[in-house]
Symmetry: C2
Subunit: 547 residues, 2 copies
Amino acid sequence: MSQIAFESGLDKNAANYTALTPLSFLTRAAEVYPDYPATIYQGTTRSWSETHTRCKKLASALSRIGIQAGDTVAVLAPNIPAMYEAHFGVPMCGAVLNTINTRLDAATIAFILEHGEAKVLLTDSAFYQTVAKALQQLKSNIIVVDIDDHHAGAPQERLGTIEYEEFLQTGSASDYFPLPTDEWNAISLNYTSGTTGNPKGVVYHHRGAYLNALSNITGWEMSDHPRYLWTLPMFHCNGWCFPWSLAAIAGTSVCSRSVSGEMIYQAIKDHRITHLCGAPIVLGMIINTKEQDTCTIDYPIKVMTAAAPPPAAILQAMEDRGFHMTHVYGLTETYGPAVMCAWKSQWDQQPADQRARLKARQGVRYQVLEGLDVLNPDTMTPVPRDGVTVGEVMFRGNIVMRGYFKNLPETERAFQGGWFHSGDLAVMDDDGYLRITDRSKDVIISGGENISSIEIEDVLYAHPNVLEAAVVAMPDEKWGETPCAFVTLKQGTQCDEQQIIAWCREHMAHFKCPGKVIFSELPKTSTGKIQKFRLREQVNGNTATRG
Amino acid sequence: MSQIAFESGLDKNAANYTALTPLSFLTRAAEVYPDYPATIYQGTTRSWSETHTRCKKLASALSRIGIQAGDTVAVLAPNIPAMYEAHFGVPMCGAVLNTINTRLDAATIAFILEHGEAKVLLTDSAFYQTVAKALQQLKSNIIVVDIDDHHAGAPQERLGTIEYEEFLQTGSASDYFPLPTDEWNAISLNYTSGTTGNPKGVVYHHRGAYLNALSNITGWEMSDHPRYLWTLPMFHCNGWCFPWSLAAIAGTSVCSRSVSGEMIYQAIKDHRITHLCGAPIVLGMIINTKEQDTCTIDYPIKVMTAAAPPPAAILQAMEDRGFHMTHVYGLTETYGPAVMCAWKSQWDQQPADQRARLKARQGVRYQVLEGLDVLNPDTMTPVPRDGVTVGEVMFRGNIVMRGYFKNLPETERAFQGGWFHSGDLAVMDDDGYLRITDRSKDVIISGGENISSIEIEDVLYAHPNVLEAAVVAMPDEKWGETPCAFVTLKQGTQCDEQQIIAWCREHMAHFKCPGKVIFSELPKTSTGKIQKFRLREQVNGNTATRG
């Protein structure tokens, strides 16, 4: 659309246009709330003024060793202040932040460093052995800065020539770094933890990071100065953009090297935590914390959860313990959460199990996401809003990635038809809330019928003795595939295969019930996702028939 | 800055880029909260679904009479649902919304319609006589749609050929209007009410409207579904962008043709209002509401105030009545509020008068405003943060206007040196909060000393008998200028000139005290600003000597 009359003398200039970037939130927090706590870690509290200074020093130090706009700087660290600072210091000098999952193996780390063309690696000393191996495999040169955290346990050998705190001292807080002139510039590079094949490097830009940081605040109805506990890894989709959200509202990052139920309750006692995020595994930790380590929660604590669709029983158990649950959904490709189960007050009147069922839906688009729909991928038309017709979840808008780094074929495939294809299958309810039924590859096709593994898992989780459950397809001579359930029981409880199957037959269509139940621990990715591909390997070749 | 490695294969496409526009908030509200109330007016509640449909019909109807992208559509109406709908329906068809102050005289209305090149005027029937006169003066053709609101009193004659509700019926809700492809497109045109000269047409774009709508939410810490009372005219800076904020969080607009203390308390009783905005004149109405018309306020009501720096005594009186006050500052050129007095919890411990003094400061930049400073306009360098050195308030960022419509000289003057020059004088305190001392032209220069008229007004407002006060410069033979105070006393109280002057001498430096006190009603602009230029006319030629 053109607007001819409005085209003259009304151009962009330095006064009326600036590129969107979350870096401006840090400057503002330091200006307005210099003395407010930005990070708390192991008894050390750093203010926004100190944090701003440290970020500027990091940018300056990087710049002085030759890092230029568009260079990649990788960080491998747990949720410690250095990791938080990297979210600002690295992009401040124009570089691109590549956070690496600390649980990856050496070969994958080497692949990421190589593919992402990292010029510098900041690495936490606790991961010395794996990183040393990764560096040996690396063909290109890289400058290594050791983050020597004495809370990490026994002192580790150094991999680089300088320690993080010393490195900061080589920079000057008075070096000037203009904000990016182009909001489309890359701010970060996040490799998906993909269960097969080489990881893909998802590129975020300053514009999207800025907008999703704001959308976290408006969507989750966050007030100023939250006390946010880092139970979600910052290496995961840049902590769902929360490092930047927290700067926008001058919140406090309560940092920790590791996550446990005990740690979470301790942080609640010590710091009156108001917000935390995490995959269902974190919820499980909270629910299963020994009673003597818990505390009464007498003020609202908001918990945002995503990753796997949370079983209704777990959502309910969290609410019972006093946590206010918000269910979100997104992918690395959508800056973390981009969809949320926006809660409606009229649902408060529903019985508990119905409330949990409603809340277990993925829901509706974030305020800053322009388009979200469940489409038939062949016709690219929306599925009927009937709660049963399955289609693929697709996204469009400013919090969809720029694309995959150096991977045009995958980028083009992902953006076919002008939508980002998530690979997740879902139905759309008549109220416009979507519900994920499965990852494409997790669907079980039995006798021509699609069976949702998630639906079966939901039933399994509702069983009083079940701690964790996962369902995969098992080859079946008669039906093609049949569901196979992997179950971990709660400590001190017992159950046999027949009892579990009987429970399922009582609660769902018989054709959907597992043909086999295997009791075992469930293999998980470093971000706590259950690795179904490992379970599939386990059942591959096994056959079963269904009665 | 270039980012070479990140320049390839990572371009904008339909999946990962959309122009920012607040229109997308309306679509989302209608999708997610179709049954939630969008507008309430005189017993009629319309849902988001209905409101969305009506906005689409308005866009369609405008389009069908030939309105094209970039055409101006003017609206002259009070805070009624049609006015709210215009904020979406007009830009939806690509047109530019020009809301007109309902209290303007015919000549000024004619000037605005002519200068803004409005193709259509939607006009509320209550303003029949003035608008009829304005239309007679108009040289260009304009299509007039009458908004025939039977709550406006006696039925009025029609000025156009079609009534608003009939006009909506000529449109179809299924006409498709794509969102703007360029977020820099004009969304609205707001003429400043300027006290001298022809009004200037301030152009807003979709990007700025979107960002300030979000910033209102994050800055004011608004939760979902506020019940917002329209005490601020929507014709004033597009209601400070709140029509769009409310769509983003599916809030309810409680509409009203006029504002009074009684109406405000009635709305609180009927609709449990959570938020309202207004100039100090609105605060005065609340404070001076007869006790029998008030009610106890047992839940938080947030009030945002701006326009003139609010006297500390009025802020305190509002808090005493149970309203939580937020003080903001901005200009038509900055989309309404762009600066806010962000409150710090440690200030809660201060005595009441000190709290009010802190809150009467204008404060710090909005989260989406990139730059705010008090600069020496000659050197364009920041004044020292000493709370006494006066400079000019300057803005930069995405919520600064595109410029003045068809007025390149004024646009260039306003943007000199890459900052928007507000014309407001201020000091910067050492904590980075700015405090307006005066409009440039309101400073009184007496014996070479600058005297802030606002400082004197603050002292006058603190006097128990003073209802309203304004101070202007009066020519003085000895000192050049001396302050002349205009005072309205509270009903049933008495005071003479000597008592007022004695009060001032007790509370401020003697050289700043008014040389003369005139008791009278104060002339106000249609937006409730005291018209100092009229007071200046009154004293012009008068002289006084100071003791």
